[in-house]
Symmetry: C2
Subunit: 212 residues, 2 copies
Amino acid sequence: LQEASVVEVIFAGSVRRPRLDPALFDAQTAQIVPRLLAAMQSGDDATLREVIAIFEDFDLTVKGVADIAPALIPQAGILVGQPSLQDQADAARAAMIVNALGTVDVGQGAVVVKGLCLAVEALPGTDAMLAHIAALKGPLNEARAGLIYKAPKPTQDLRIDLPTIGIQTVIHAANAGLAGIAFEAGGVILLELEAVLAEAKKLGLFVWARAA
Amino acid sequence: LQEASVVEVIFAGSVRRPRLDPALFDAQTAQIVPRLLAAMQSGDDATLREVIAIFEDFDLTVKGVADIAPALIPQAGILVGQPSLQDQADAARAAMIVNALGTVDVGQGAVVVKGLCLAVEALPGTDAMLAHIAALKGPLNEARAGLIYKAPKPTQDLRIDLPTIGIQTVIHAANAGLAGIAFEAGGVILLELEAVLAEAKKLGLFVWARAA
C-alpha cells in the first residue's frame, strides 16, 4: 500500500478467520502475526481493533463508512411504516439485549416479539437467525408481530464491522413473520436504501432507525 | 391448597405464558391477576419471583429442587470424559456469555466452539438451538469440538426454573458435533443421571459440572 502512496484505508466486506499457514509469511507478516493471534483469542472486537492499530502503525489512516459515505448510515427516523407502541417496547427490549451481548463480544442483533426474545444473533449471522425463526414460527402463523433489531457492539470501533441491513434482511424478516426492522441510528449500514425501503413497503414491514 | 392443609409447595415442569380469560377468574384470582400481569411485562424472571411471592403471601412455603432432591443437582466435578484445555476455555467464555444474557433475562445456555459463540439460547430453548447448530455444522463435518453450557440466570430465584439437562440434550449435542456438555455446578438439574451419563459415554461426550 505504501509503495502505491496510499495513505487512507477503508474496510469493506465480510471477514473470515483464516487458517494461517506460516510457510506463506514474509518477514514483515511474520512480525505482525503474533499481535493478531493474541488479539484473536480475545474475540472479534479485539481482533479488529488490533487490525486498525497495525494499519495505523504503518501510517495509514483508517476511515469508516460514516466518513466517506454517510448516506449509507441512516440517522434517527422512521423510514417506512409505523412501529406500534408494542413494537417500540420490543425495540427497547431488543436494544438492551443486543447491548448486553455486545459487552461479551457476541452478535449484533436480536429478535423480540411481544417482549419475548425469540433469537439472539451469534456467529451464523442475521439470515441464519431469521431463517431459524421462520422455521419455528411457520406452524404458529400468527399476525405479524415483533422485530429484528440491529446495533453495533458498545465496545466496537465504528470504523469496522458495522452491522448491515440489505434486501435479504427485509425478505427474511417478512418470512419470519416479523412486523418490522429496527436498528441503532448512526450505527448500522443500510445497503441499497431505495430497494430496501420499496421491498419493506411491499411486504408491509416498518423500517426504523431508532435513536440509541 | 390451604383446604388440603398443604404448607409446602414445589414447582416442576415447564410453563407457558397463558392467554388469560377474565371470564374464568374467581374473585380471589381477579385480585392476583394484576400483580402477575405487571410482573409479566418485566420478563420471566420477574414473573416467577412474583409467583413465589404470591404463594408466600398465602403462607405457603416454596421449596426448590435443591431442598427436596439435591441428588438431581450435581455439585462440581467431571461426570464423564475429560474436557480439554480448549474445552475449558470455551466453557469459561460460554459462562460469561450466559451470565451477560441472564442479566437481561434471556436464555440459560450458549454454544461455544473454539472461542466462537455459535448460538445463544432464547425462547425456543436448548433443543431448538442445538438442532439449528446441527443443521449449520452438517456440511462442515469437522472433528468434535466445543460445548453447550447451561447455567441459571444470575438474578433468578433458584427455587424455580432451573435449567435442565436430560438425555435429549446429550443426543442433540452429539448431533451438533459438540465435544461435550458443561453446566454450572449447583445450578442445573440433571434428569435421569445414570442414563444421561451412559449415553454421553456411548456418544463420546464429556459431561462437566463446572464450579461457578
